[in-house]
Symmetry: C2
Subunit: 222 residues, 2 copies
Amino acid sequence: MKVVLREKILRANDEIAEENRKALRHKDLLTINLVSSPGAGKTTLLEKTIAWLRERIRIAVIEGDVYTTKDAERIAGQGVDVVQINTQGGCHLDAHMVGQAMTQMDLNNVDLLVIENVGNLVCPAGFDLGEDFKVAVLSATEGGDKVAKYPVVFQKAEAVVLNKADLIPFTDFDLPGVQGEILGMHPGIPIFVTSARTGEGVEQWCNWLEQKVENKRKGMQG
Amino acid sequence: MKVVLREKILRANDEIAEENRKALRHKDLLTINLVSSPGAGKTTLLEKTIAWLRERIRIAVIEGDVYTTKDAERIAGQGVDVVQINTQGGCHLDAHMVGQAMTQMDLNNVDLLVIENVGNLVCPAGFDLGEDFKVAVLSATEGGDKVAKYPVVFQKAEAVVLNKADLIPFTDFDLPGVQGEILGMHPGIPIFVTSARTGEGVEQWCNWLEQKVENKRKGMQG
């Protein structure tokens, strides 16, 4: 019975996700869905990304969190529009929540909509929100075995950000080994090695993202 | 409808958890449920805990993981009995899974049963497995805001292990501030500051745990 209901939930979710996707396509903007464990650095990465791109790209953010508005307050501090979704115990965003949040935003003058999911490497992987693609953020301090342990998110993502690279010298993290493991699981996927805290690697990630926004504007795939 | 079903699932789970608890009480052993984000260091902490305690305490382990047997292999390397549960996409262990795992173990000569949950700071908090208590593991590299963002697990836990303390000097982690936040949320809860990698603080955690095993043997509460 659990399984049947899960299928029903997923089917309903996918239908709403398609509606979101159509509405977003109509606005001609790129939408990404940031997924990671708690504390991998999604919000700091997003702060740095906004600071880097905001002169050239108009950005809006939907923040997912279980209970708090902490991340939304940080993002609002960057001077962009942000809507907070509190899941009240729920472990991931779903397409309905995102659709509701979209109704509270003016997306007509936005080039890039970033959805920061609830910190969770399992559940968000299974839920399409209507985004163009997912980006997986993995912090070096979590350890390299997370790629094999949480494969779905790395298979579904269109890029991986390996964050907290400034801490690699103090850990056992095997950077080339983990990059190889990600590429073995998802051949050709771009991997950005960053430290959102120090700013290392943020430029490369932002350049790639800006190109994606540009391609979307021109109506190209990807 | 989702909510109703969730209540049904939780009620069924709680009934099975009570059956597990009765069976475990009959064996006179202490059972703990380790909960954390992916990569907080549960498995390394458990390896060090087994190494520290195994001369005096007989330990068995139930390992939860979405797909792999990586952690179970590491724990088996410590020379203790271990049963792996793969949730196949599921984001937490439930009492039924644990009850099934228990039937595959000889618990007659065990003093401490450790259940290592799936790496997830949201979903495992809501599921009683029949354990005596939960222990929350938080790594310093995840950042101190995780206490407020994932309150339920810190409210329900009987102890907190603040792990990866060796990396604190290289981060913005405010140790006294986070300890204060945990204590504000759960007054009096023991907090162990550890680095499972270097061994720092493992002794204090193990001494506390050994006392809990001892108290359980003597039939005392807690």
